[in-house]
Amino acid sequence: MSSSVNARAAIFDRIRAATSAVPAEIPTTHAGLPRNYRRNGQMSANARVALLIERLREYDAEVTECAPDEIVQAIARVIEASGRRVLVAPPGLPAGWLVPACNWKTDNHLTHDEIECAQGVVTGATCAIAESGTIVLHHTPAEGRRVLSLLPDWHLCVLRAAQVVESLPEYFDGCGTPPALVTFISGPSATADIEMTRIKGVHGPRFLSVLIVRDLGTTRPGAASGAKGAQ
């Protein structure tokens, strides 16, 4: 351990000898860095959702839409169409979403093997970014621990249209205190390691479905409101 202490001191000595930082000025300098890139989108809420759907489909994700009062029926239809019956659910998923005719295992300390045996998982989300077709999970109780949306072969993510922002900076603006755990998901897992041929489905879920709840007109879009809404 003492060698590590020496190493630390030696590294800091070398860094300090090579740089001339004034600690008191650092926050001001950081705040003044140029940021002339696009912050706020200009799209209408509908165009934003349409772009997200287009991007998700480009990634071979399956997208369905429904009205706010149809969520449960829509979830039932998507699950029915997927042909999957053994599903895991995060503990904070609304109870009504656990539609009948499925074998649900709610994650109260499920083992990895139990999650691995499931055919799919249903989660909420914190935010979605239209421009890059990205779903953001903060792993809230409605989104579940990280392993839950990883091991099952199919991930059904229920997203409210009001959670959709146009660009990445808008997500960060609405994010508030940085969360401890975040997963950005842009389509099902993929690789292009062999001759740059894109192959869908390596280790993460091979199939991603997104159910978009058309709740626009009721809530202002924003990342921070998202997590609460899904719970």
């Binding site: 060698s3 590590s4 190493a7 630390r8 030696a10 590294i11 800091f12 070398r14 860094i15 300090r16 090579a18 740089t19 930082a21 600690p23 650092i26 300098t29 950081h30 860095l33 140029p34 940021r35 002339n36 890139y37 696009r38 300390h109 990895h112 093997d113 691995e116 890059s132 077709g133 990205t134 621990r145 990280r146 392993v147 990883l150 990445l168 960060f172 940085p178 969360p179 401890a180 755990l181 975040v182 997963t183 950005f184 998901i185 842009s186 099902p188 897992s189 993929a190 690789t191 292009a192 390691d193 062999i194 001759e195 740059m196 041929t197 192959i199 390596v202 280790h203 993460g204 879920p205």
Partner: protein
């Protein structure tokens, strides 16, 4: 083909190492295909980003700000990561980093470890060291599996096996996974890798990762990937060890809004890579409950000394520079004799080696500037290449064994000649006389003897004109040359 050597201390100089590749049409075809595909996709996605140049400016400014204030941000990262349950270790060099990792693995009583692709681990040659010490490292990124099972080395920092084509992958997998009937369809090959790794993910309790970014504000680590092997390693094992260069810090979580917009577009030509994971120390009930970060210097702090060379450490490892480089596209990565090939490798490797090794790399460039143009954090690679060439020359000139090196003898002579007008005129006359027998009727020299033949081997040389400009001018004025 010989096994590629990626240790700059023992690798042959670039021109020597490049030769076998230049004579291997299959390899050149594989490299050209892969780099063409990525470049085309990148160009399309960059073109649709109307604020691309503003993002590059911000990317460069954020990275510079970190490097200017590196001690502050590293201290902050260490404090916050520790508060979140992580253990931070410091390694001055590769040997120190290897032994820290080994000690942690021994404490864990690990006999094997799963790994997310990390160039830093390749830089410190961790895998062979672990094997020597009785621990089996298992790579989990598809390209890294191809290389590990095929006993090959990475030739690119984002797509490390881009020099291997599908039928070569098939042969490697068929042999090592015991699947004689495997087809060479990339889908089937990927499925084989999935099956091969699934059990490993669920059973091996210790994992090693690199880091794309460290967030000082939160003490978080960011890993950017495509396949989900990263997420597996980050969530299933009991213990996680992250190996990161000290330059990887970003001030705030929000700074990712720039990096995540430029990185995937530059690296793989995607708007966003499939998976980006952020985690902070240890989260009860979610993921590894023991977390170590090993922060590696290994020559980086030395690069901070000059503000121009400091740019090198802005690098976010997107590999756009190698895809764009006309030299890399011909030679592939192995010729660079380092895990960091291409233009960024040509400036990073010699500096990490403090110019003791890899002196040929600053010359492995035509200085065309394509690398600078595509760099998402605007590293002026050509400028640094020229600086490093000067530094290499300055060092070599002082070396006694180079005293009789024809290049330095020639340069010393040139120095003397150019210092005096009369010597210069004499030299002109001498050259005219000496070269006359080799000059053809059309005024061109096609072949020179001895050492000078190295020049005419690959290009013709204009013969010395019958008259110099001064002679012509003097004659025109009707005066004799003094």
């Amino acid at each position: 083909m010989n096994h590629p050597i990626l240790d700059p201390r023992v690798a042959p100089p670039f021109p020597v190492a490049a030769l076998p590749v230049l004579r291997n049409p299959q390899l050149r075809k594989n490299v050209a295909h892969a780099t063409d595909v990525i470049q085309a996709k990148r160009a399309r996605l960059v073109a649709e980003k109307t604020d691309w140049q503003a993002l590059r400016d911000s990317g460069a400014a954020i990275r510079d700000h970190v490097l200017d204030n590196l001690a502050h941000y590293l201290e902050q990262f260490e404090e916050r990561c520790t508060a979140a349950g992580g253990v931070v270790h410091w390694a001055r060099d590769a040997a120190e980093a290897r032994s820290i990792v080994l000690n942690i693995l021994r404490e864990e009583q690990a006999s094997e470890v799963i790994k997310i692709k990390t160039m830093t681990s390749a830089e410190i040659q961790l895998n062979p060291f672990l094997v020597e010490n009785g621990i089996a490292p298992h790579e989990t990124d598809l390209a890294e599996i191809i290389l590990q099972l095929g006993q090959d080395e990475p030739s690119h920092i984002v797509v490390p096996a881009l020099h291997v084509n599908r039928s070569q992958v098939r042969d490697i997998f068929a042999k090592t996974m015991g699947l004689p009937d495997l087809s060479d369809d990339p889908q089937a090959l990927t499925a084989a890798a999935r099956t091969y790794l699934r059990k490993m993910f669920l059973t091996v309790p210790t994992a090693i990762s690199g880091a794309n970014f460290l967030i000082a504000e939160t003490g978080s680590v960011v890993v950017i990937e495509s396949e989900g092997n990263g997420r597996m390693c980050l969530t299933l094992p009991r213990t996680m060890i992250t190996l990161a260069g000290i330059e990887k810090v970003l001030p705030r979580y929000q700074d990712l809004e720039v990096m995540l917009q430029v990185l995937a577009r530059s690296a793989t030509g995607e708007r966003m890579n499939p998976y980006t994971s952020v985690w902070t120390g240890v989260t009860p009930g979610d993921g590894p409950q023991r977390f170590h970060v090993v922060l590696l210097d290994n020559g980086r702090s030395g690069i901070l000394r000059s503000s121009r060379e400091r740019q090198t450490l802005r690098c976010i490892r997107c590999a756009a520079c190698m895809n764009a480089c006309p030299v890399y596209r011909q030679t592939g990565g192995h010729a660079y004799g380092s895990v960091y090939p291409g233009p960024i490798g040509a400036i990073l490797t010699p500096q990490l080696m403090e110019l003791e090794y890899a002196q040929s790399l600053p010359y492995a460039s035509s200085l065309c500037g394509a690398c600078y143009e595509v760099c998402p954090v605007k590293i002026n690679i050509p400028e640094i290449l020229i600086d490093l060439r000067a530094a290499v020359t300055d060092r070599e000139r002082e070396e006694e064994r180079r005293f009789f090196d024809p290049m330095y003898v020639g340069l010393r002579m040139a120095n003397k000649i150019f210092a005096s007008a009369s010597r210069f005129r004499a030299a002109q006359r001498l050259a005219r006389l000496a070269l006359r027998p080799f000059t053809g009727k059309d005024g061109w020299i096609r072949s020179l003897p001895g050492y000078a033949s190295r020049w005419t081997m690959s290009r013709d040389l204009r013969g010395v004109p019958r008259q110099t400009f001064r002679e012509w001018w003097a004659e025109r004025d009707g005066k004799a040359v003094r």
